[in-house]
Every structure is written in structure tokens, then in C-alpha cells.
Symmetry: C2
Subunit: 113 residues, 2 copies
DNA sequence: CACCATTACTACAGCGTGTAGAAATCGACG
DNA sequence: CGTCGATTTCTACACGCTGTAGTAATGGTG
């Protein structure tokens, strides 16, 4: 269900890559785009509502962190997509048919264990 | 790119499951929801614009077919999601860590060959 | 308590989707 | 060939989501 808009996605990227918690001002500064802080705050609130972001309210500039890592989130998306799949195995078969050999090898390794 | 709304998705489901081409009236009849044909036509046109549906214009009730099978489409979605992943292999690792054993086995088989 | 930084609330435009009426079109039948 | 009914196109509008920000409230610090 978590369809993000462009700005929302940019903000999530910062939180994911930055590693740690950021204030609204931090976020605004790191986005190159010269936005009002209120804009960033709005976006952060919406991301909080979508459970993508957790907010530390006890500090004065509130600090925001991503609820899940980028990889965790991506896996969630994958599962969401697969949930609509009908025949999961058919999809996976087709999927691995199209991935580069290096990744196929990596998968084989991961599955062997 | 292909984010579908609820009705759009229902229509695609019909086209996918029905197997063959349907007219707008066919679609309207199969949706339980008592919609105007024009509504269905609008949705079909939008799906055509999104390249989800092909339309046979030469017959009088135009006939509509899904451009890709449900599985093909799902694979496209998967790749789209993976495209935003950052570290694809990390995501895949996490992903296969969470799938049921039966599917893991199936994957192993598929990768072996 | 007053002031500045921060946050909350409110607003609005633009776009996608669901929904459908009115107008145009097309083929068949007389 | 003209008419009529079915089909398609065009136009419209409401609603929700996103980007964007102003204004009002709030909270700590001197």
C-alpha cells in the first residue's frame, strides 16, 4: 500500500542512506531543492502516518528515522507484488529466467545453505 | 509505472483470467457492479494508454485483450521494485529468507537446471 | 515573561481514478 | 440511401493523494 510520491521518496532515501535520525531542517538542507521547512515537515508527517518513519517527539527538534531499512522495505514491496500474483511459482520461475547469471549464482548459493 | 486503481485492476483481472478478448459490454457484465458501459470504456481506454491492454478496432464491438499475462506483468512489477532497491542481492537474500520451504525448493529446482 | 525556533494546522493546485452523460459514429435493415 | 440502435468518443466532475507553503500555536531559554 505504500505508494510514495517523488518528494516522499527522496526523503526516505535520505533517511535510509543517512543511516541515522534527522531533523526536519537536516532533511531540508540535504535535499538540494530549496523547500520550505514546513513542506518537509508535512512530508515527514505523512510518512509517519504511512508507518514509513518514526518520530522522536521528546527532543526539541524532533528527529525522524526510517522504520524499515531500504532493503526491508523493498522486500515488503516484493511480497506485496507477489501477493497479487495468482500463481506465485509461475511468477518466480519467469523471474529467475530473466535475471543475470551472477545473481542466479548468488541465489543458488543462498538457497543451498 | 503501472499503478492501477481498483477498478482498473478488476478489469485487468477479467482480461487475464478470461483468457480471451472481451468487449466493453462483456467486461461490464462480468464485473458484478452495475456500472455504465461508458465507465468501462473509459477504464479500458486508460488501460490502453498505459499499454496494459490492446484494442481490436476493426471489429464493431471493439475487443480488448491484455498485452501481457498476469505473470508477465507481475514479473515486470518485481523488476521495477528491484530497480529501486539499491543492493539487489541484499534484497534477494532477505527475500528468500522469508519464503516458505516449498517455494525455496521450487526455486532451487529452477536454478539447478 | 518574551522571543525565536520549531511544530501543527489549514489551504490550495494539480494529477490520477471512478463515474457517467451527451454527442458523434457506424453498420445493418428496410 | 436514410434511419435507428448499438457502440464509441468527448467532456465533466468529485474525490483522494502529493507537493507546496503560509499562518497560527507551542515550547524552551534567557
Amino acid at each position: 500500500m505504500a505508494t510514495l510520491g517523488g518528494l516522499e521518496r527522496s526523503v526516505m532515501s535520505l533517511l535510509w542512506d543517512g543511516g541515522e535520525s534527522l531533523s526536519a531542517n537536516d532533511v531540508r538542507d540535504r535535499l538540494g531543492e530549496d523547500l520550505a521547512v514546513t513542506t518537509v515537515l508535512t512530508v515527514l508527517s505523512r510518512l509517519e502516518r504511512k508507518d514509513m518513519v518514526r518520530r522522536e517527539r521528546s527532543t526539541r527538534p524532533h528527529r525522524y528515522t526510517a522504520v524499515a531499512s531500504r532493503e526491508e522495505h523493498t522486500v515488503e514491496m516484493l511480497n506485496e507484488v507477489l501477493g497479487t500474483a495468482g500463481d506465485r511459482e509461475a511468477v518466480l520461475a519467469r523471474f529467475i529466467g530473466g535475471i543475470p547469471d551472477s545473481e542466479a549464482a548468488a541465489l543458488r548459493r543462498l538457497l543451498q545453505k
